[in-house]
């Protein structure tokens, strides 16, 4: 067995008595106090996540813009410097290599954040594609600890220890500044469906920031949050997970990420196939499901209609916010009709579920800049 990788915050997880699991080759905290408690903490207060396992790839060079445009399906040409964009990255056959965030410093410098379990594969893929361009792609994954502070109180809490005016960082934007005197990259991004920040810092300062944020947020109820709640939070907000909603055998159009696929761009890897799929009709569609019968639909359970297999569950769980059992399924597009009743095959037994809108949870829009954010958020997660 390969030795599991540990993040710079590993010792803190032991102190916090986290339950640790193997996640994509990383020894990560799945829960501290309990998944449901942690889930509610993020929805109602704020929670701190160790996401240091995420991969960071820096792309620099004269042709950086042209390269990133070729690499991903979304369009970074119109993105302002200091802004971030979400995008799938596809194979020539339209299947998904990974989904990622692109931070634009300028047209010659981009910072790409990828999924932990795909980081090595992505780096190989990116460097291979980079050969045709005057760019250098560098894997900086080891050079960062990454923390995410997510929840309605995230800004209030973090503002106490940073010299950056956080209200100036709009949704999907980033800035450099100091937190607790330590130099960081801070972005208003996340994977929970809540407002919040992701903080990139040199690994040796990871523990200091982790402790400081938990300390200054303690009276507000800020707690550490594990990967278990991270999954239920992202699932309720229909944020896709690679390996579940996304994969090499699923196109971004099928996964409901069409608005992040700019078919009017001159060229990008996978364009031809995706264009043809769009024109000929997308064969499968991602739908939301609510269980009618008792049961929890889990990832990869088959979906049937009249005894015929028509798709499978991509993610399914008890939803702590809605207090019911819901799921996402990838099914034949012609059956993706609201209200349609399907059978989830749970250990050989047909259990009824109904198609419902898949955006299970959307946070309340608030006054001020968060109203604008919600606009961007709904673009991100209401992709059809």
């Amino acid at each position: 067995m390969n030795e599991l990788k540990r993040t710079p915050l590993y010792e803190e997880h032991l102190v916090a008595k986290a339950k640790l699991i193997d996640f994509g080759g990383w020894e990560m905290p799945v829960q501290y106090a309990g998944v449901i408690d942690e889930h509610h903490t993020v929805r109602t207060k704020a929670g701190l996540f160790d996401v240091s396992h995420m991969g960071e790839i820096d792309v620099r060079g004269e042709e950086a813009l042209a390269f990133v445009q070729m690499l991903i399906t979304n369009d970074v040409s119109k993105l302002e410097d200091g802004k971030i964009l979400y995008s799938p990255m596809c194979y020539p056959n339209g299947g998904i290599v990974d989904d990622l965030l692109v931070y634009r410093y300028n047209s010659q410098h981009f910072f790409i954040v990828v999924n932990a379990s795909n980081a090595d594969k992505d780096y190989v893929w990116i460097t291979e594609q980079a050969k045709k361009f005057n760019v250098i792609a560098e894997n900086l994954s080891e050079q960062y600890a990454q923390l995410a502070l997510q929840g309605p109180l995230a800004e209030t809490v973090l503002q106490r220890i940073t010299n950056i005016n956080l209200s100036q960082i709009k949704y999907y934007s980033f800035a450099h500044g100091e937190i607790d005197g330590v130099s960081c990259l801070i972005s208003r991004t996340g994977y929970t469906g809540e407002d919040g920040f992701e903080i990139y810092v040199a690994p040796e300062y990871g523990r200091q920031l982790w402790r400081k944020i938990l300390e200054i947020g303690a009276n507000d109820g800020v707690k550490p949050i594990g990967l278990g709640a991270r999954d239920t939070l992202r699932f309720e907000a229909r944020l896709p997970l690679y390996g579940n909603e996304l994969g090499a055998e699923i196109t971004p159009l099928e996964a409901g990420l069409g608005i992040f696929v700019k078919l009017d761009k001159v060229d990008f890897i996978g364009k031809e196939v995706l264009l043809a799929q769009k024109e000929q009709g997308i064969p499968r569609k991602l739908v939301g499901l609510e269980m009618i019968d008792r049961g929890i639909a889990r990832s990869h359970y088959p979906l049937q209609k009249d005894g015929q297999e028509i798709g499978f569950i991509t993610s399914g769980s008890f939803s702590p916010t809605l207090n019911k059992n819901i799921a996402l399924g990838l099914i034949r597009a012609d059956l993706a009709i609201q209200g349609e009743v399907l059978d989830v095959m749970i250990r050989g037994k047909a259990v009824k579920a109904k198609i419902i809108p898949s955006l299970f949870y959307k946070r309340d829009k608030q006054a001020g800049h968060s109203a604008k954010e919600s606009g961007a958020m709904s673009e991100k997660i209401s992709a059809k």
Partner: protein, 128 residues
């Protein structure tokens, strides 16, 4: 902390024997490793269960776990309360969080189970 009057199997389930009626449930260690229990599937009263075979499932947010009968027999009572409040398995695994009561055909299959002391030794061993 594992009650001495119960018998335990290696799947971290207990059996409470009262005459020929055996109550099944999961141990404190089981609920601790599962995390928040959110769903319990149990057989109907009147159906039969078989020693060593699965009779239902206990699901936490992240995991699905089969539950195994430690005796064969007829289900005489089902704890419907845990179907509505699965969190009882976390808060009171040995009390209100019991699962089903079975009228045993024969109690000999219980001979293979562990006493509380043996189960604790087994837990200590599993830690390694």
């Amino acid at each position: 902390m594992n009650p001495v009057e119960l018998k335990y199997n290696k799947e971290h389930e207990y059996a409470k024997v009262e005459g020929n009626i055996v109550t099944f449930g999961i141990t404190d260690h089981a609920q601790e490793s599962l995390g928040d229990v959110v769903f319990v599937e149990l057989p109907d009263v009147g159906t039969t269960v078989t020693a060593g075979k699965s009779y239902g499932t206990v699901e936490s947010v992240k995991a699905v776990s089969d539950i195994t009968a430690s005796v064969s027999g007829k289900v005489v009572e089902v704890n419907t309360q845990v179907m509505d409040s699965p969190d009882l398995l976390n808060s009171e695994p040995y009390g209100e969080g019991w699962l089903i009561k079975v009228e045993a055909d024969d109690l000999s299959s219980l001979d293979g189970l562990m006493t509380a002391a043996e189960y604790e030794a087994f837990l200590a061993q599993e830690e390694h």
